[in-house]
C-alpha cells in the first residue's frame, strides 16, 4: 500500500468507516509507515473537531450543569 492509499484509508478509519476486510491491510501499512502514519492519523482526528464545529450549538441546560457539578463535587469530596 502506498502512503497515499494509506492516507485515504486513515481518513475512513478515523470516522469508523473502514470495512472489516480493509482493516488488516490498513494495520499492516500503519506498522510499516510507523510514526509518519501515527502523525497522519492524529491529524485526521481534527476532522472530528471540524464536523462538530460545523453544527450550530444547541442550548445546553443550566440545570444539567448544576446537577453535573453537584455530582462532581460530591465525588471529589467522597473520592
Amino acid at each position: 500500500m502506498s502512503f497515499e492509499e494509506f492516507e485515504n484509508q486513515a481518513r475512513l478509519y478515523v470516522i469508523g468507516a473502514l470495512e472489516v476486510e480493509e482493516t488488516e491491510a490498513f494495520e499492516l501499512a500503519r506498522k510499516q509507515f510507523g510514526q509518519r502514519a501515527e502523525d497522519f492519523i492524529v491529524e485526521c482526528y481534527s476532522m472530528h473537531e471540524a464536523f462538530a464545529l460545523s453544527l450550530r450549538p444547541a442550548k445546553a441546560s443550566d440545570a444539567l450543569k448544576e446537577r453535573l457539578m453537584t455530582m462532581v463535587r460530591k465525588r471529589k469530596t467522597t473520592g
Partner: protein, 219 residues
C-alpha cells in the same frame, strides 16, 4: 454536519474582507484559560475547570449528540454522562494525540452512536433517517437561536470547506460520521453500489481534510 447552506442569511457575510478569524476552535476572550489549561486543571480534579469547559463546549457537544439521536431528553442524559466521563477519564487525555475538543467530540460521538444502537427506538430513528436521506441535507433541524450561536465565524469557515462537496459525498460522510454507518450500510441505505460509496467517502474526506489544512495554513 450542516453541509449545505443555500438559504443565504448571516453565513453570507463570511466572505467579507477582514472577517476571517481563526478556524477549528472558537476564539477565547482575552485572559481566558485555553482548552489545554482547562484539561490540565481537570486532570488535577479542579471542578471549576470542568464548569468552564461545560460553558465552552456543552452547546457543540449537545448539537453533535442531537444530530445522532434526535431526542432532547436523551441528549441531555448523554451530555451529562459525557462530561462525567471527561471528569473521570481526563487522565487518558494526551495533548500529543490531539486537541481537547477533538478528544471530547470523539467521546461524545462514540457515546451517541452507542446510545443510538442500543435504543429500541432505533427503528423509529431509522424511519426518520429514511426521510432525511431522501431530503436535501439542508433539511436537518437545528434549534439554536442566533444569540446562541457564539463563535459562529468558526462554524461558517468550517462549513465553507464542507459545502464544497457534492451532496452525495456530504450525505455519505454524514451517514458514516453522525450515524456510525459502515460503507455497506450506507450502500444499502442509499441504494448505491458499495464501490461508489467508498469513492464518495474517500474523495469527500480528502477534500475536507485538504480544505481544513489549507484554512489552517492561511491563518
Amino acid at each position: 454536519m450542516e453541509f449545505s447552506s443555500k438559504n443565504g442569511g448571516p453565513d453570507d457575510h463570511a466572505d467579507e474582507p477582514g472577517r476571517r478569524k481563526p478556524a477549528t476552535a472558537p476564539e477565547l476572550p482575552s485572559g481566558a484559560p485555553t482548552d489545554l489549561e482547562l484539561m490540565s486543571a481537570i486532570q488535577r480534579e479542579d471542578p471549576e475547570a470542568l464548569a468552564l469547559l461545560y460553558d465552552r463546549y456543552s452547546g457543540i457537544l449537545k448539537a453533535l449528540i442531537l444530530r445522532v439521536i434526535h431526542n432532547e431528553a436523551e441528549a441531555d442524559d448523554l451530555l451529562q454522562e459525557i462530561f462525567m466521563e471527561i471528569w473521570n477519564h481526563a487522565k487518558n487525555f494526551s495533548p500529543q494525540k490531539g486537541k481537547p475538543l477533538g478528544w471530547m467530540v470523539t467521546l461524545a460521538r462514540r457515546r451517541a452512536i452507542d446510545g443510538l444502537r442500543k435504543k429500541q427506538a432505533y427503528a423509529r430513528a431509522g424511519e426518520r433517517l429514511q426521510i432525511e436521506t431522501e431530503q436535501q441535507p439542508d433539511a436537518w433541524v437545528h434549534n439554536a437561536t442566533e444569540e446562541e450561536i457564539a463563535n459562529s465565524d468558526t462554524r461558517i469557515l468550517v462549513r465553507r470547506v464542507i459545502n464544497i462537496l457534492p451532496p452525495a459525498q456530504q450525505q455519505a460522510i454524514n451517514l458514516a460520521f453522525f450515524r456510525g454507518m459502515s460503507q455497506r450500510e450506507i450502500a444499502a441505505q442509499t441504494n448505491t453500489p458499495l464501490g461508489t460509496v467508498k469513492t464518495r467517502l474517500e474523495l469527500g474526506l480528502k477534500k475536507i481534510y485538504d480544505g481544513l489544512k489549507e484554512l489552517k495554513d492561511e491563518l
